[in-house]
């Protein structure tokens, strides 16, 4: 047996089970929830999301590209107007701004995909369709001899259903 899937109906029971699993040093624990909840985030004590780095880098690259493409093409194909500068940064700020938003937004999405490990086109072991409906879930992966202790812990905390998966 590779691990255990536990279904929970109540949020507080789930959070208490997560905290106890951490105390008992079960490291490979995945929590499922139909909607994001701060209570679960605190119980899991997960690190901050790294998506913001993708956002910053993408936005800077986009803005740079926006200025560059406008200035470079103005120099390459000059529109001669009464001694005015070919490259004019004030109107080009509009292009740079739009490119900053576009590349920044798309790289934010890429950051979410990379950090969340999606797209995932194969079925996940330990997931149950009810976890997108009304149930909370915990998937615990560990050596078979430790799983019986995990099962007892999960049942003690009020799991409505616990079963093993290969």
């Amino acid at each position: 047996m590779r691990g255990l899937v536990a279904h929970f109906r109540e949020l507080d029971a789930l959070c208490e089970a997560i905290e106890d699993l951490r105390k008992e040093r079960f490291d490979k624990v995945t929590v499922y929830t139909p909607t994001p909840r701060h209570e679960i985030e605190h119980a899991v004590a997960a690190p901050r999301s790294g998506v913001r780095r993708y956002t910053l880098i993408g936005a800077l690259c986009g803005a740079t590209f926006g200025y560059w493409v406008a200035i470079w093409t103005s120099e390459y194909w000059p529109l001669v107007l009464g001694g005015k500068a070919f490259g004019s940064w004030i109107p080009y700020t509009i292009i740079a701004f739009e490119m900053m938003v576009l590349v920044g937004a798309l790289s934010t999405v890429a950051g979410m995909f990379i950090n969340s490990r999606i797209p995932r086109l194969v079925a996940t072991v330990g997931y149950h369709p009810r976890f997108s409906g009304s149930d909370y879930g915990i998937w615990v992966e560990d050596a078979p001899e430790r799983l019986s202790a995990a099962e007892a812990l999960l049942r003690r905390h009020g799991a409505s259903e616990v079963h093993g998966e290969q």
């Binding site: 109540e10 949020l11 507080d12 959070c15 208490e16 905290e19 106890d20 995945t30 929590v31 499922y32 929830t33 139909p34 909607t35 994001p36 909840r37 701060h38 209570e39 679960i40 997960a46 999301s49 998506v51 913001r52 493409v69 093409t73 103005s74 390459y76 194909w77 529109l79 109107p91 509009i94 292009i95 701004f97 739009e98 490119m99 938003v101 576009l102 920044g104 937004a105 798309l106 934010t108 999405v109 950051g111 979410m112 995909f113 950090n115 969340s116 999606i118 797209p119 995932r120 086109l121 194969v122 996940t124 997931y127 369709p129 009810r130 976890f131 997108s132 409906g133 009304s134 009020g158």
Partner: protein, 466 residues
């Protein structure tokens, strides 16, 4: 035993204000059941779709005729070389703005009333921008050359002029469309996963599995998703302000009476939000009745949105008055003559439709009784849609027909071709919208669950109503 867990607010920062809770929604199962039921097609839906496709076909016919004959058949004659197409372009871009306001700006401001209407508003944004984007292309005369506006290395060795508002438009609108589609689709992923998990039909289940990208509701996914959603909202907020500002620059950069004014950017943005909210009402009020979603899109939500409409109406009304004041105070005869002609001359009827629908009728929203009367809100939304189309008419046509030289002054009459294409644009918009609402939940399942109190084991933890 671990310590007792106290319930906290939703993880995403859209904590509803008092009075914006959903008391008639008791648990997650009810949310799944009731919102899932909106996906079943009905006879009214098929009827609406047929009507929308019919309208689209009228537009396609008119466009085909115009392609063959040239832009002259659309009523364009010097000096009025911009008319229904540009008016309708600005109209649809404006409609799109409320969607982004609701989904992004109100999200950042933690306005709870957005939760149940943001999905349909976001879908409205995407389809409105898709509609708007067609109009500059229809207006180019040779639409098959429209791609020349994009900067790419080509055999002509030519690049677009980045100082031109038309090129700014290309960048602003294509960015807006891409970011709006991304925002809509990302928000849909958890809901598509919920549909996938309930789907019995294996083919449809497989399609939903691909569309949901293997989303499985893990805490890790939600953590990164929430952060991504926040950043997308933060990007969309200045984007939405920039897009209509850029659209207003199409006019404000020109030395034409009535156009060359610095007030245009904020005036256009306020007008866009005003008209967009009206379109949200036009769509949401019948939908909540047909789909029996009155306990999701409640009177409290409509009341709150009516206050936004009232505020933006007052801003737009002030802008109208400031325009008149500046024309008088500026002392430029061409400008003064133009504004007189706009309100008391050749175009008085259009200007008074605009003033009545956008300035006078929305004042009724000072009454709370009317803010909570869905029949009045629906009727008012139709008037505002009409008034905002005429606002753009008043900006475009009277200016071009009444410039500096009296010998240039002329009239303008639309023909069946541009009116047919206008009708076709409504058909195009509603066709996409109707197709959308039967494939995807029109109210966001996962976000509604955030405001439903979670089930708790210990009564002292103050859990839900289970």
């Amino acid at each position: 035993m671990a310590t007792t867990v106290e319930p906290q607010g939703p993880a995403r920062p859209n904590i509803p204000a008092a009075g914006l809770q959903l008391p008639a929604v008791r648990d997650y199962e009810q949310v799944d059941r009731e919102i899932g039921a909106t996906l079943n097609p009905t006879k009214a839906w098929f009827g609406g779709l047929a009507l929308a496709i019919l309208g689209l076909l009228v537009g396609v016919t008119a466009f085909t005729y115009q392609l063959h004959e040239g832009l002259g058949v659309a009523g364009y004659e010097p000096p009025v070389m911009w008319a229904v197409y540009i008016i309708t372009f600005v109209f649809w871009i404006g409609i799109g703005h409320a969607g982004t306001l609701i989904s992004a700006i109100l999200y950042l401001f933690r306005a709870g009333f957005r939760t149940t209407i943001y999905r349909l508003s976001e879908a409205m944004t995407v389809f409105a921008v898709m509609t708007a984007g067609l109009f500059p292309i229809l207006h180019t005369g040779r639409p098959w050359k429209a791609f020349w506006l994009l900067p790419y290395p080509n055999w002509r060795l030519l690049w677009p002029n980045f100082k031109s508002p038309l090129v700014w438009d290309v960048f602003a609108i294509s960015t807006y469309l891409t970011v709006s589609v991304t925002f809509l689709y990302m928000g849909l992923i958890p809901d598509i996963a919920a549909l996938r998990d309930k789907e019995k039909n294996p083919v449809r289940r497989q399609i939903l599995a691909v569309l949901s990208m293997g989303w499985r509701n893990s805490e890790r996914e939600w953590r990164h998703f929430s952060r991504m959603y926040l950043f997308l909202a933060a990007f969309s907020t200045p984007l939405v302000l920039s897009v209509h500002s850029v659209v207003s620059f199409d006019f404000a950069m020109a030395l034409v009476p009535g156009w060359h004014t610095t007030i245009f950017a904020p005036y256009f943005v306020a007008g866009a939000i005003f008209s967009g909210f009206a379109m949200v009402w036009t769509i949401a009020i019948p939908l909540r009745k047909w789909f029996k979603l009155e306990h999701y899109i409640t009177l409290n939500h409509l009341d709150a949105s009516a206050k936004v409409v009232l505020l933006t109406s007052l801003i737009v009304g002030s802008a109208y008055l400031i325009e008149f004041f500046i024309a008088w105070y500026g002392g430029v005869p061409a400008e003064q003559d133009y504004f007189w002609n706009r309100v008391f001359g050749q175009w008085w009827w259009a200007a008074w439709i605009m003033l009545t629908c956008n300035m006078i009728l929305p004042l009724s929203l000072f009454s709370q009784q009317l803010r909570r009367n869905t029949t009045w809100l629906f009727i008012l939304s139709l008037f505002i849609n009409l008034g905002m189309w005429f606002e753009r008419f008043v900006i475009v046509v009277p200016s071009l027909s009444h410039e500096f030289e009296p010998w240039q002054w002329a009239a303008y009459t639309p023909t069946w071709v541009d009116l047919g294409i206008l009708l076709g644009s409504f058909g195009w918009f509603f066709m996409w919208f109707l197709l959308f609402i039967k494939q995807f939940p029109v109210v966001a399942i996962s976000e509604v669950k955030e405001i439903v109190p979670p089930r708790m084991r210990s009564a002292g933890a103050g859990g839900g109503h289970h």
